[in-house]
């Protein structure tokens, strides 16, 4: 005790010279004092934790507005998720159950509680395919989800690669040729639905594309090559599950084909995904620029840009370095704002191109439930898919908002004042 006391410097001697009768009473106080001194001043442990947490504390002190905003958004998100679940419960358990009077329904509160806890704890039930095979819903969706994620990532990347420079340049040079053509494009393409555009792409690019890619035997689009192509090139490889087209290590066909070194297949998959991504991007860029252009114009009117011009900073540098940096949070916010529309566009494109994606699955399940004995057959699938899509939209919008605010704190105070 005394040895360790020496090693702890001045902390231990305070507890040592206590009288014998009061030792038992003073032990907890002494321990508390030791603990406080130990953690605050001397020990290597406290130094380590101090190093670890001090930047966090400083960050919180500096960005307390964002932290408060994040907490508020998180509380809101809980309310939103419960709201989504209530809407789903109303549609599937109240309305659909009242249509089929076979089961005696639970009382509303018990039923709602069961529904919500089942969804939130991941008890998503099973799906019977053709009335025989029962697969857990999560596993089944897992077969389809990578296709959608891959397509969405490519489409978003292409859209932003186009929208960022075009939007910035047209906002900078207001009224020039590029600006007016961008305005015309956003006006025209808003009412050119992706479904019609992708149908037209299939109509006019179908044969040339198939001939070019070498996948021209009984091909309907999709993502993987057709069965005819496989039969010419040595059959289905062992790493593709023939029932659900699930590619083996990761599930993302672009990655897996490269993983196994199937480069001819990789090329076909890449071409197919690129065509779909371009169809999505053509529609989404128009929508995105409609939201983002006015914000860009406002951002490029900032005082410091005028000051920079007066100091003789070259115009190009002002545009791409100064205004371009200021516009980034606005664009991130716009992604969150328009992500719901992006998902609608992608689901129509997946439907037209027969992609094995989750959004295609949503529409297909919706269509199937119309013919196969009412809603009950595909109920679990529809509920889980809709819930997942809504949660993804929610999370993307919240994360985009918070990232945008972290990048541009002045904007947050504007928002607190009541700007958009």
């Amino acid at each position: 005790m005394s040895e360790s006391g020496k090693s702890r410097g001045g902390s231990e001697p305070r507890s040592e010279p206590a009288p014998a009768g009061t030792v038992r009473q003073s032990v907890p106080f002494a321990l508390a004092i030791v603990a406080i001194l130990y953690s605050h001043t001397i020990s290597p442990v406290s130094r380590f934790f101090g190093r670890l947490w001090a930047p966090v504390g400083r960050w919180v002190k500096r960005h307390h507005l964002i932290v408060v905003w994040t907490i508020r958004r998180a509380i809101n998100a809980v309310a939103q998720i419960l709201g989504i679940l209530t809407i789903l419960y109303y549609f599937f358990d109240v309305l659909a159950a009242s249509a089929s009077t076979n089961e005696t329904p639970l009382s509303v509160i018990t039923g709602w509680w069961t529904f919500v806890t089942n969804i939130l704890t991941g008890q998503w039930g099973t799906i019977s395919i053709a009335g025989v095979v029962a697969i857990p819903t999560a596993t089944y969706i897992g077969y389809y989800l990578p296709y959608s994620i891959e397509l969405a990532a490519l489409a978003l990347a292409i859209s932003l690669l186009v929208a960022y420079p075009v939007g910035l340049y047209s906002g900078w040079h207001r009224g020039r040729v590029l600006d007016s053509s961008v305005r015309g494009y956003t006006a025209v393409w808003l009412f050119f639905p992706a479904i019609i555009f992708s149908l037209i792409v299939i109509l006019f690019l179908y044969q040339p594309f198939l001939t070019y890619s070498g996948d021209n035997i009984n091909a309907i689009f999709g993502t993987l090559p057709s069965i005819g192509w496989f039969s010419l090139h040595g059959g289905y490889p062992s790493w593709i599950d023939p029932t659900y087209d699930f590619t083996s290590p990761t599930g993302f066909p672009l990655i897996d084909a490269a993983w196994h070194g199937a480069w001819s297949m990789e090329w076909i998959i890449f071409l197919k995904v690129m065509i779909e991504a371009l169809c999505i991007a053509v529609s989404y860029v128009a929508l995105f620029l409609r939201y983002a252009r006015n914000a860009t114009v406002e951002a490029t009117k900032a005082e410091y840009l005028r000051a920079g011009r007066a100091r003789g900073i070259p115009n190009r540098q002002l545009l791409w370095r100064h205004a371009g940096r200021r516009v980034i949070p606005l664009y991130i916010f716009t992604i969150g704002n328009t992500f719901g529309m992006f998902i609608i566009i992608q689901s129509t494109v997946e439907l037209i191109f027969n992609t094995q994606g989750a959004l295609y699955l949503l529409l297909f399940a919706g269509g199937q439930s119309l013919i196969g004995g009412g809603i009950q057959t595909q109920q679990a699938l529809l509920i889980v898919l809709i819930f997942l899509i809504s949660v993804v939209i929610l999370v993307v919008s919240i994360v985009a908002e918070i990232v945008a605010m972290a990048l541009d704190p002045a904007w947050l105070s504007e928002k607190e004042k009541g700007g958009t």
Binding site: A79, G83, L190, F191, I196, R290, M341, I371, L382, I389
Partner: protein, 324 residues
């Protein structure tokens, strides 16, 4: 006495007439209203049904029968659609009054609900603001498309088909007001901190009077830029969902669209018929069956967009000096 106001009116009307965007939009929408009136007068008896020929599945749709030398219209002036064999021109004209009613019946109540909720939230602040905006966020996180799919799949099969359009309108009103409430609330919050509102409160105006006489008239214009997006969403929903119903089931089903009958004239329903006709699986290359319905919808959307953007610009305070 009346000369200042008359000159003000004359100036505003002059601005309206010289506003290219607004005038173009007004003209296009006016032509559509005129077309609706013509249809209402011309097809007085049978405005709610088109004639259809299932036979077209076997023989293929008729191409446009219009000829210019010598000029004659023929029975199928703009051709025939693939699936049910609707007459494209007749269908589009008959559909005009229904579609104008449908879109106006959805968008105007949506705007009103969003306006009231946004003004109350932004003008009141504090607890009411937080509660209303949380509710708005809940509605915002569910895409209208998903709600339409749910209504189509869950409710519609159990209802008499005559109630389908009303149900669609109600569902779309209930789900679409949220973005309007958001933009109006943002504007109302900035307006509420303006000096003239404080002056009104200081001179003894009541809370409701401040909300609806002072804040509301100044905060509805940003709503207009949202209208074309809602319209585009509605058109996507009305096009995609019947397409899903037909394509995935691959057989005749009793619920095919939100309309009361399969031969009910509606622009997007005619468009879906045209698209089914030329999908690569059933490849009959009937370009007329999707081109003309698409152009009809597209021109209407463009008109609405020009009208709304122009009106927003016209109503904004610095109306004379446009920013772009």
């Amino acid at each position: 006495m009346s000369s200042p106001s008359r000159s003000y009116l004359r100036r505003r009307v002059g601005q309206y007439l010289h506003h290219t965007e607004l005038m173009l939009g007004t003209t296009i929408l006016g032509l559509y209203v005129l077309l609706a009136l013509v249809a209402w007068i011309y097809y007085r008896g049978g405005l709610s049904s088109m004639e259809f020929h299932i036979r077209v599945m076997a023989y293929g749709p008729s191409p446009p029968t219009i000829s210019f030398f010598p000029f004659s219209l023929g029975p199928y002036t703009l051709g025939q659609t693939g699936l049910f064999g609707f007459n494209v021109l007749e269908g589009l004209i008959k559909a005009t009054p229904w579609d104008l009613m449908l879109f106006a019946g959805i968008i105007i109540p949506t705007c009103l609900i969003g306006l009231v909720i946004g003004v109350v939230a932004g003008g009141t602040g504090s607890f009411v603001d937080d509660a209303l905006m949380t509710f708005t966020d809940v509605i915002l996180s569910v895409p209208p498309f998903v709600v339409a799919l749910l209504v189509f799949v869950v409710i519609l099969p159990g209802l008499p088909t005559s109630q389908a359009p009303l149900l669609f309108v109600a569902a779309m009103i209930l789900i679409n007001w949220a973005p309007y409430a958001r933009v109006v609330r943002a504007r109302a919050r900035t307006i509420a901190s303006k000096p003239f509102v404080e002056a009104a409160a200081a001179s003894g105006a009541g809370r409701l009077r401040i909300l609806f006489r002072h804040i509301l008239p100044n905060s509805y214009s940003p709503m207009l830029s949202q209208v074309p997006i809602t319209l585009a969403n509605l058109i996507i929903i009305l096009t995609v969902i019947p397409y899903v119903g037909i394509e995935t089931s691959q057989q005749y089903i009793n619920v095919v669209s939100f309309m009361p009958a399969i031969n009910f004239p509606e622009w997007t329903w005619i468009l879906v018929n045209g698209m089914i006709g030329f999908s690569p699986i059933i490849s009959t290359n009937a370009w007329w069956a999707y081109t003309f319905p698409f152009l009809c919808i597209f021109a209407f959307g463009l008109g609405v967009q020009l009208f709304c953007d122009g009106l927003e610009d016209y109503l904004s305070p610095q109306s004379g000096s446009r920013t772009h």
